[in-house]
């Protein structure tokens, strides 16, 4: 399977439109205010595809994941899973839906209950979905299958999480997510807590599973080299909005949004040859999500910002083939295949993006 070959015939598993979510936070003495963690998110995931989600810490990646998992109630917007709105589900239908979407949590230490054994953790979903595997024999069989699938031994089922290494714990988390045969797995920074020497094992495992089972992934990470390696398409988030989407290659090699460019440029490179000659180092901190900047949210840290950025929220800018950039709302083709960004002054070349290596 290759990066550029997006199979357009495969149906969408998940479609998210205009999703918003805000939290009420008490801001010291001044009472409580709304924090817009998600502000009009649009995205879609195809069957068997991996969508990468990158962005600064606190930009809302986890909130998006949690909202998709119905751990948070969105303020507005729609979520369609195979065309249906999961938030409307109740009772049996809800349970059935829960079975199809699963999540692997960021922290392999916190997401496993230290007082349970690996076996108990992995078969925990069966206790709720009793009809899935009837009888303890069937469950044990399935448990062993799962352990095998993620590369653990049957005897590991009796160990507690603290007896496992980080990579093995993450495998337990993955096995638990697989227990119900989901169609979509949301992976919230699945490897960020892992050692480099183990990270590759988990990434390989995920890859294998996708090829075998055809599941879709939403892969959240801030490690760009990992994202580049595992995803088909990437969405870049900044302060609760997706500011750029496109195929992995497009986004990484030909970023449109200055923020994406800065992100790509700032990530350290192991190979001196890959190191950009001129590196963009952003100044300033991520603005408070409590009062995001007007107009373009990135303008406070953007080196290309002009007056218009403060007053007008940019439209989506699409990059069509051959590197030309067209402004305005895309007119042709389904949007999720496009490479687009929200910017008044998109970056025009790799050199401007600070991506041209020294050598």
């Amino acid at each position: 399977m290759s990066v550029n070959d997006i199979d357009t015939r495969k149906p969408n598993v998940l479609e998210v439109e205009n999703l918003s979510k805000s939290f009420t936070v008490s801001a010291g003495s001044s009472g409580s205010r709304k924090l817009k963690a998600l502000d009009g998110i649009n995205l879609s995931v195809r069957k068997g595809e991996t969508l990468g989600l990158v962005g600064e810490s606190g930009c809302g990646k986890s909130t998006l994941a949690r909202t998709l998992m119905m751990l948070e109630q969105p303020d507005s917007g729609t979520v369609r899973f195979d065309g249906q709105d999961p938030f409307a589900f109740r009772g049996k239908a809800l349970l059935a839906w829960r079975r199809r979407v699963q999540m692997v949590f960021q922290d392999p230490f916190a997401s496993l209950n230290a007082r349970m054994t690996a076996g108990q953790i992995i078969s925990e979903p069966f206790a709720t979905h009793r009809d899935l595997y009837r009888g303890s024999a069937a469950r044990t069989k399935r448990l062993n299958e799962l352990l095998d699938l993620v590369g653990l031994r049957a005897t590991d089922a009796y160990k507690t999480p603290q007896e496992f290494s980080g990579g093995q714990r993450q495998r337990i988390g993955i096995a638990r997510a697989l227990a119900l045969d989901p169609d979509l797995i949301i992976l919230d920074e699945p490897v960020s807590a892992l050692d480099l020497s183990v990270q590759a094992q988990v990434l390989n495992l995920l890859n294998e599973l996708q090829q075998q089972l055809g599941v879709s992934y939403i892969f959240i990470s801030h490690d760009l080299s990992v994202v580049r390696h595992v995803t088909d398409r990437v969405a870049v988030m900044y302060l609760g909005r997706i500011i750029e989407t496109g195929s992995t290659e497009d986004v990484f090699d030909r970023p449109l949004h200055p923020y994406t460019a800065a992100l790509m440029s700032a990530s350290p490179k192991l190979d001196p040859a890959m190191r950009p000659a001129r590196r963009i180092v952003l100044q300033g901190e991520l603005p408070s999500p409590l009062d995001p900047p007007s107009g373009c949210r990135f303008r406070t840290r953007c080196w290309k910002a002009e007056d218009i950025c403060a007053s007008l929220r940019p439209e989506e800018t699409t990059s069509v083939a051959e590197g030309t950039i067209s402004l305005g709302i895309p007119t042709v083709g389904p949007r999720d295949e496009m490479h687009m960004a929200e910017c008044h002054f998109p970056v025009s070349s790799a050199a401007e993006a600070g991506l041209v290596p020294v050598g």
């Binding site: 949690r66 998992m69 119905m70 751990l71 809800l94 349970l95 829960r98 079975r99 979407v101 699963q102 999540m103 949590f105 960021q106 922290d107 916190a110 997401s111 496993l112 209950n113 230290a114 007082r115 349970m116 054994t117 925990e124 979903p125 206790a127 709720t128 979905h129 095998d148 699938l149 993620v150 590369g151 653990l152 031994r153 049957a154 005897t155 590991d156 089922a157 009796y158 160990k159 507690t160 603290q162 007896e163 290494s165 990579g167 093995q168 988390g173 638990r176 119900l180 094992q201 390989n204 495992l205 294998e208 075998q212």
Partner: protein, 329 residues
């Protein structure tokens, strides 16, 4: 298929499948590490044994009055073993009464603590898990109980209904519920935001199952520690009730009642109140020692204190089993 997966090559520890071991050495070994806690455990075990078998052994001795043999001093072998701890103002054996009182005392303290523990904890856990309005309401109820003069409650209930053991237990339990409730709520509110609870939610697990599976096992050690401490409090509270004349009623006898009744003889027959007082203090200290240990033993961040192989001073000397590093040098 699966062969292509990169399986972990080998596990660090191999061995047959074994039952889960919650990490580290067993509780029993950790108990032995702490001499004070061991002593506490032995004392408590002794108290419990006395409560179980003592009254049967003592038979009539505890109630047999002898008005001509009043207030005899203790530790006088001439009076016979039954009076080794002296006799009381009605000529009864203090030893026998202490033994019989052990049972009553525990029969008040243990159920009172248990009831408060179970009710308060479950309620608190429930409130903390759901947060929001349920939590606020529960905490207000706890506030009410706390700011209600507990003595008033005791007096009213014990007057309206008789001061029977059951009523005393009820009162002591009700007034102590908020203590557990607050603790359980705080822990549970923190736990419900943990990732493994979120994970359980994503399977569609119902709140009550999550509470039972993920919250209660975690809060139990804290609450048990608390309960051990509360045990002392309840014994003291019972003696205060006796002081006010609404505690355990004669001919029943509890340590608290013995202290309260013996107080007027403090100067003429000190043993009447000092001995049961000592029984309370020793039991309380024993329970506290055990609680202190339990608190450490169940706290993963502190547990190492109980499990170290050598005291700190010796560690600076050449360390014990030397890893191969030095040899290779």
């Amino acid at each position: 298929m699966t062969q292509t997966l990169t399986a972990p090559r080998r596990d660090q520890r191999t061995g047959p499948a074994r039952k889960p071991n919650l990490g580290g050495p067993s509780m029993f070994r950790m108990l032995l590490r702490d001499k004070f806690a061991t002593a506490g455990a032995v004392i408590l075990a002794f108290v419990v044994l006395v409560a179980f078998f003592g009254p049967a052994l003592m038979g009539e001795l505890a109630t047999k009055q002898n008005l001509m043999f009043m207030n005899k001093a203790p530790f006088n072998p001439a009076n016979g073993w039954a009076y080794i701890l002296g006799s009381d103002s009605l000529g009864r054996s203090v030893l026998a009464r202490l033994v019989v009182a052990t049972r009553t005392t525990l029969m008040v303290a243990v159920p009172a603590v248990m009831v408060a523990l179970v009710v308060g904890s479950l309620w608190g856990v429930w409130a903390g898990y759901h947060r929001g309005r349920r939590e606020s309401l529960s905490m207000r109820i706890a506030d009410i109980i706390m700011s209600f003069p507990s003595l008033l409650l005791a007096v009213v209930v014990l007057y309206v209904f008789s001061p029977s053991v059951a009523n005393i237990v009820l009162i002591l339990a009700v007034t102590r519920i908020p203590i557990y409730m607050r603790t359980a709520r705080a822990e549970s509110a923190e736990l419900q935001s943990r990732t493994f609870v979120d994970a359980a939610r994503t399977f569609g697990t119902r709140p009550n199952s999550i509470i039972a599976m993920h919250v209660i096992p975690v809060v139990t050690p804290t609450l048990l520690t608390l309960a051990t401490l509360e045990f002392c409090y309840v014994m003291l509270a019972e003696s205060s009730l006796s002081f006010l004349g609404i505690g355990i009623q004669p001919p029943d006898v509890s340590w608290g009642l013995m202290v309260a009744q013996g107080r007027q003889y403090l100067q003429t027959a000190w043993w009447l109140s000092i001995l049961p007082g000592l029984a309370i203090v020793i039991t309380a200290i024993a329970a506290n020692m055990l609680a202190a240990w339990l608190r450490i033993a169940t706290d993963p961040a502190q547990r190492w204190r109980l499990t170290l192989d050598k005291p700190a001073r010796k560690a600076l000397k050449p360390a014990s089993p030397k890893p191969a590093a030095k040899e290779a040098k």
